[in-house]
């Protein structure tokens, strides 16, 4: 088990009802972690979710490490 720090934005923040949380997880990758959180917080189906690890874009198949900061990024819509 590792502990990761999660920050939520936009629709995910609304679903989770919180800005951040610390999660103990057995997930090996952001993809596994997202499935776990989606089930817990009833996230909507998002086809093109992206992820940032420690404030850099990363891959949904990257290796999660203990202490990582994880941000899941729904489709952006700036401007």
């Amino acid at each position: 088990m590792k502990t990761v720090h999660i920050e939520y934005f936009a629709v995910l923040r609304e679903c989770a009802g919180r800005d951040t949380e610390a999660v103990s997880t057995a997930a090996e990758t952001p993809r596994q972690l997202y499935a776990e959180l989606a089930a817990r917080h009833h996230f909507p189906a998002l086809q093109s979710i992206k992820v940032a690890l420690n404030d850099e874009f990363s891959d949904m198949s990257a290796a999660l490490k203990d202490g990582d900061t994880v941000v899941f990024i729904p489709p952006v819509a700036g401007g």
Partner: protein, 144 residues
Amino acid sequence: MLEFDIQDADLQPDQWRQELMDPACGGYVSFEGWVRDNNEGQRVLRLEYQAYAALALKEGRRILDEAQQKFPISHAKCVHRVGALDIGGMAVWVGVSGGHRDECFRACRYIIDEVKHRVPVWKKEHYVGGDSGWVNCEACAGEH
């Protein structure tokens, strides 16, 4: 000068335009994104912008660097607003100065296109009638 920023106060393009002035520059192009009163057939009342600031600042800066590598411009700046905005409010501003107009137009267009696709900023539209939805999130629009 290349600068990307995010702020929750009203944007000040007049002030930033002066930062881009340079006696070697013959052209200046700016873009402003305004909050429209409609989107995809719905009447919009107001918008709310949220940014993942730590990553948005890095990605915005990368976009400006790319613009300067691709086009021979002198200066570029882009500032994105976060927080609540009413109709007519300015959500994003881009300014580019350079020797000639061609590179300024191309760089300004490049910057705003990339910012809209890559910088982690989200907007929630509040519609006439009380509904609201996060834009580009079709699965959840109208739910929240």
